[in-house]
């Protein structure tokens, strides 16, 4: 019972912190940057592992954050050189990911990193990897890691809410009124990389991308206001975490994968039935309007 609670809590924390940042990525049309960063941090993790020789979370977080920033700086400078954005992204993250894989295979004896684990993650093991200080069991390490990252981004976004908002909707105006746009860009990228790596162990690199994009996209379809969108994305993330766990129990499949499917299901619901932007809703409204118009004509 307790382990179920921890798994769902971890999933919900991952989904909330990712969905939270994902809102800004979507609004700035950089959703794929999350994907790029989640691949590009691989060499950072391996190097941090080689240097520190342990699997503790902090060095890995640092290594990943550094490489996440390197990735976004390289993409940004390639774009300034005139390479189009999608190509810049593709070239950068595939190169960094390859470096990571080569490092893993070069130091395969020293590195006890399972590529499968990095890519898919295994949230089911979360409850057993607990954090103990002086013999007191403080609960799973993953919960602490993801929770503190979530708190960090929550604090940063609340503090600089106005700045992030203006930078997302109108970067030119933000620059005009004196907001350091690129600082906030890199701050966001840094948070994305830190969140990605903190979520790594539990849900794996590719499913972090799902949590970054899908709940935020669902929220984007449901509202036109940023603060509501942020709250909705957290709710969607939590819902998909709980629902995903239940499904996974029913069909005995990967928990993280089921959470993605649940998030996708919520997205499809919003896509069809969103009160303002849903496909079926719009069709229904149009039909009503047509009937009323033909009624008036008659």
């Amino acid at each position: 019972m307790m382990s179920e609670f921890w798994i769902i809590l971890t999933g919900a924390l991952v989904a909330s912190s990712c969905g939270f940042l994902g809102c800004f990525l979507i609004l700035r049309r950089m959703a794929m940057l999350g994907d790029a960063i989640s691949h590009a941090i691989l060499p950072g993790i391996v190097i941090a592992f080689l240097l520190s020789g342990s699997r503790s979370t902090l060095p890995m977080l640092l290594g990943a954050a550094v490489f996440g920033l390197v990735c976004s700086v390289v993409i940004e400078s390639l774009r300034k050189q005139g390479v189009q954005a999608d190509a810049a992204m593709s070239v950068t993250f595939t190169a960094l990911f390859s470096v990571g894989i080569i490092l893993v295979s070069l130091f395969t004896r020293q590195v006890d990193l399972d590529l499968d684990c990095v890519l898919y993650g295994e949230i089911a093991y979360v409850p057993w990897d607990t954090w103990e200080i002086a013999g007191i069991d403080l609960g799973p390490r993953a919960v602490w890691a993801v929770g503190s990252v979530f708190l960090l981004s929550l604090v940063l976004i609340t503090l600089f809410y106005k700045q992030f908002k203006i930078c997302s909707f109108d970067p030119a105006m933000a620059a005009a009124i004196g907001i350091p746009v690129s600082l906030f860009h890199y701050l966001l990228m840094g948070m994305v990389s830190v969140t990605t790596v903190a979520s790594f162990e539990s849900v794996g690199a590719i499913l972090v991308v799902a949590m970054l994009i899908v709940p935020a996209a669902t929220a984007y379809l449901l509202t036109d206001r940023l603060n509501i969108m942020l709250i909705l994305s957290i709710i969607m993330g939590t819902l998909s975490s709980v629902g995903g766990y239940v499904i996974a129990q029913q069909i005995d499949a990967s928990i993280a994968g089921c959470m993605t499917i649940m998030a996708a299901f919520l997205f499809v619901l919003a896509f069809l039935f969103s009160p303002k932007h849903g496909v079926l809703t719009r069709w229904w409204i149009r039909r009503q309007l047509k009937m009323r118009l033909s009624g008036e004509k008659a």
Binding site: V83, I251, S254, T260
Partner: protein, 439 residues
């Protein structure tokens, strides 16, 4: 000698030849297709398609129960097409932008794939070992039959690209124009997508999911630096793709027995970086050299103008070099004075401390300085009277004296005199400027 032996030992291995011909064909094919994807701004499409093949591969395995590559290819192609259709629908029927749709489809399809994969693992016939090989790519394990299948598909794709070259070109550069000519642009777009799916699917076994994305886009992005013409770009990109395939395979098989996919990507990225730096027109080095040349030219002109105007203002024949130290931008270019002295434009007179202290223009120097200042002031006057003067070119577009239209020169001279702004030194030997129509 060592290298020669390495090459020989490489060719002694019969399977290595198959592997290398496979990766070469793959590089060639994805290089060509990548150009069109690149120009359609679909650089991330390869990544999405590659990820979305996972559920297809799993489904094929679950339905047929065999690990034959053919079924995998069919399944992967089907889900790849489904993914590209989903992206199209999401962007068309909702306000979600393309990048979000790409990420959404990528992660959801991959998530479904992982669920299916765990289902297979938990089921009784749980021998799924061949499946993840499809994800990370293991070209060393390719055998003759794999390469034959891959090669055939790649050649068919290349022929189709050649046949539809004109249509694809139209699609990449001006889809609306194509539609107005009556081409089925949506169908062509779908066809390109289909080509990409097939290319990704055949590449998966050799390069793996993530690295297939690189093979599609990196050679094309590199080729873009070298040319402005699509025909050349396609050829260059194909050559680069094939080259990285060969290089990557060779390094990985000879040097450290690393997995081939990442090495191929690293070689492609190196080719890209070399292109970015050394390409003749758009490369960083060429741009930097151009910038330096222009800077030097501008500094030279500013120096002439400064010397001339200093002499003009005070009525002197020479100007003290110390005043240059107070100039905000020109003080950085003091070495240029020695260069100009060597070329005979000016003389530097040595002061009491043995250092040059006074600049004196020679005859040739006066002439050049006069011309420079005249041009500069003409441009100023033109900018002031842009509305009154009739001209085909705009004053902003002028970068050298020769570009000022001949027709305007008399008028500009007249205006200069009217403003009292004409260069007042060194007129003795040239035509004096007077108000009224000059000859």
């Amino acid at each position: 000698m060592a290298i020669f032996q390495l090459v020989r030992s490489f060719f002694d291995d019969p399977n290595a030849l198959w592997v290398i011909s496979g990766t070469t064909l793959l590089g060639l094919c994805s290089g060509v297709l990548g150009c069109f994807a690149f120009l359609r701004k679909r650089g991330l499409m390869g990544d999405v398609l590659a990820h979305s093949t996972l559920p297809g591969i799993c489904l094929a395995f679950m339905i047929t129960g065999s690990k034959h590559p053919f079924f995998f290819l069919i399944g992967a192609t089907l889900t790849g097409i489904a993914a590209s259709l989903c992206i199209g629908w999401i962007t068309r029927y909702s306000r979600i932008k393309e990048d979000t749709a790409l990420g959404l489809v990528l992660s959801v399809f991959f998530g479904v794939g992982i669920v299916l994969l765990t289902q297979i693992q938990h089921s009784d016939n749980g021998n799924q070992s061949g499946l993840d090989k499809f994800l990370f790519g293991q070209s060393a394990s390719m055998v003759a039959s794999d390469v034959q299948v891959m090669g055939t598909v790649a050649v068919i794709l290349l022929i189709l690209c050649f046949l539809f070259f004109k249509e694809l070109k139209l699609l990449c550069f001006d889809a609306n124009f194509g539609r107005s000519l009556g081409f089925p642009m949506r169908g062509l777009d779908f066809m390109l997508m289909l080509f990409l799916v097939v290319a990704v699917v055949i590449g998966l076994q050799a390069a793996g999911v993530v690295l297939m994305a690189a093979l599609l886009i990196t050679p094309a992005a590199a080729a873009r630096y070298w040319t402005e013409r699509l025909e050349h770009m396609v050829l260059i990109s194909a050559a680069m793709g094939a080259f990285s395939g060969i290089l990557g395979t060779w390094i990985s098989s000879v040097a450290y027995h690393l997995s081939t996919g990442p090495i191929i990507v690293i070689s492609a990225t190196s080719v890209f970086m070399l292109s970015m730096i050394f390409a003749p027109q758009r490369g960083l080095l060429a741009k930097w050299i151009r910038l330096m040349k222009i800077r030097k030219q501008v500094a030279r002109e500013n120096l002439f103008a400064w010397i001339y105007e200093s002499c003009e203002g005070e009525g002197n024949e020479s100007v003290s070099i110390h005043r240059l130290n107070h100039h905000p931008s020109l003080k950085k270019h003091k070495q240029m004075l020695h260069q100009l002295e060597k070329e005979g434009y000016l003389q530097l007179e040595t002061g009491e401390d043995g250092k040059p202290s006074v600049i004196r223009l020679t005859e040739k120097g006066w002439e050049t300085a006069y011309e420079t200042v005249l041009y500069k002031r003409m441009l100023e006057v033109w900018l002031m009277h842009e509305g009154d003067l009739e001209s085909d070119v705009h004053s902003e577009a002028i970068t050298s004296k020769e570009q000022i239209p001949d027709r305007l020169i008399p008028e500009l001279r007249q205006l200069l005199v009217r403003h009292g702004h004409e260069p007042k030194r060194y007129q003795v030997r040239s035509t004096p400027l007077k108000e009224g129509v000059p000859s």
